[in-house]
């Protein structure tokens, strides 16, 4: 099933978060204003990008190793296509995307990945606008907590000193307001860092501990359940 959307309302950080979460493989097509680019995704990593004039060609050429051989691109140089057709475009906000899982048959595992998805997510988060960060960091009373065992993720993400500072302040107690204040950084920088860290899976929203007890008797609840079943 294809995942489709518009970059205006679902930015690159969001898209890559979805792709990397379950280590998806397939093709991400982005119709930018000037060109259409096919991004080849293997196990959640973008390994190759190429502009396409006719989209059907992408789906016709399924053997990845054969494709890059035909295009005369060595496995060592695949990252250059990422630089040219993705990294340079991360700040562009106009385009529509569709991700189709499967389709491509990847041959070997030795594709050189110079831009791990975690690194691209953090790079993309650095260009988010106020309006974009507000979609997730919508309330200065939100509390985040760090996740355990994500050293590998953080290493790949190559955080800036400012992002590290923000991460160190995420402790499950401080609110977004506190982090902004204690870091001494510009609010937008803090929010961008939180947005990116959330997307790479380094932090998460703190679960609300306080729960309201259900105000209903068990026998009445069972009656409702049986009634719904019988509808």
């Amino acid at each position: 099933m294809a995942l489709t959307g518009d970059l205006k309302t679902f930015n690159f950080v969001d898209i890559l978060q979805i792709i990397s979460k379950d280590k998806k493989s397939g093709i991400l097509l982005v119709e930018w204003k000037d060109i259409t680019v096919a991004y080849y995704v293997k196990d959640g990593q973008i390994i190759f990008a190429r502009p396409v004039d006719r989209v059907f060609r992408v789906y016709a050429e399924r053997d990845f190793d054969l494709l890059i051989e035909k295009l005369r691109i060595s496995k060592e140089n695949l990252f250059r296509t990422i630089e040219r057709f993705l990294i340079e475009r991360l700040d562009l906000k106009e385009g529509v995307f569709s991700f189709t899982p499967g389709f491509v048959k990847f041959g070997s595992n030795n594709y050189r990945i110079l831009y791990p998805v975690e690194k691209i997510i953090m790079m993309a988060s650095r260009g988010l606008t106020y309006e974009e960060v507000e979609r997730k960091i919508s309330d200065e009373l939100l509390v985040f907590e760090p996740l355990e065992g994500v050293n590998d993720v953080l290493e790949k993400a190559e955080l800036t000193p400012e992002e590290k500072k923000v991460l160190n302040l995420v402790d499950g107690e401080r609110t977004v307001y506190d982090i902004r204040k204690d870091s001494g950084l510009d609010n937008l920088k803090v929010d961008r860092a939180l947005y990116g860290l959330l997307a790479v899976g380094a932090i998460k929203r703190k679960k609300k501990e306080k729960k309201q007890s259900p105000s209903i008797a068990l026998d009445l609840l069972m009656k409702i359940i049986e009634r719904i079943k019988g509808l």
Binding site: T9, D22, R205, K208, S213, P214
Partner: protein
């Protein structure tokens, strides 16, 4: 005359998520609607009428009890109604249009709103699964940043399908049952 006790479940979610349809599908009465013509251009392109106060549907449980399904208006400019409708709710179902990722961030804000004010059991329905371009419930959960330990089930839903709506309601009710039994 016997007084009928009302039990309330709130159906919330962004604009055009399918809340009214969800209620219609299982309600025993014709859903009471408070609709007005959409005004904003971007809303008009999605549907002609929208809920401005609430929708409600009803399911009779026994001679003394009725289950009310209250649908909230989707636009955040009506969030004062969310506050009113959330009061005393047994549980909350948040519906999301799985075919429209532009509404996912709004859905998360709605989840945050209800979580902070009414920390009652909640499930998320990744609605419109009957449409070809619907995102899977798993992808919707990731897009909404719902962590596995957050305790919010995200289910595939098709609000036009009675069995699917029943499944969403039963999931919520079973979570409530678990909470009740775990309290002893």
């Amino acid at each position: 005359m016997k007084i009928i006790k009302k039990i309330k479940i709130v159906i919330a979610g962004p604009f055009a998520a399918g809340k009214t349809q969800f209620i219609n599908t299982v309600s025993e009465i014709k859903t009471v609607k408070t609709e007005r013509r959409t005004q904003a251009l971007e809303e008009k392109s999605v549907k002609d009428y929208t809920t401005v106060a609430m929708d409600f549907g009803k399911i009779r449980i026994d001679e003394e009890h009725e289950l009310y399904l209250f649908g909230t208006p989707g636009q955040s400019r009506f969030d004062f109604m969310w506050e009113i409708l959330g009061e005393g709710a047994l549980g909350i179902i948040i519906l999301v249009d799985s075919t429209d990722p532009s509404t996912f961030h709004e859905a998360r804000k709605i989840i945050n709103f209800f979580q902070s004010r009414f920390p009652v059991p909640m499930v998320v329905g990744a609605n419109k699964q009957d449409l070809p371009n619907a995102w899977s419930a798993e992808d919707v959960a990731t897009a909404l940043d719902i962590a596995e330990d957050e305790g919010i089930a995200v289910l595939p839903v098709s609000a036009v399908d009675k069995e699917s709506v029943k499944r969403a309601l039963l999931t919520l009710l079973n979570i409530i049952r678990e909470e009740l039994t775990s309290q002893g």
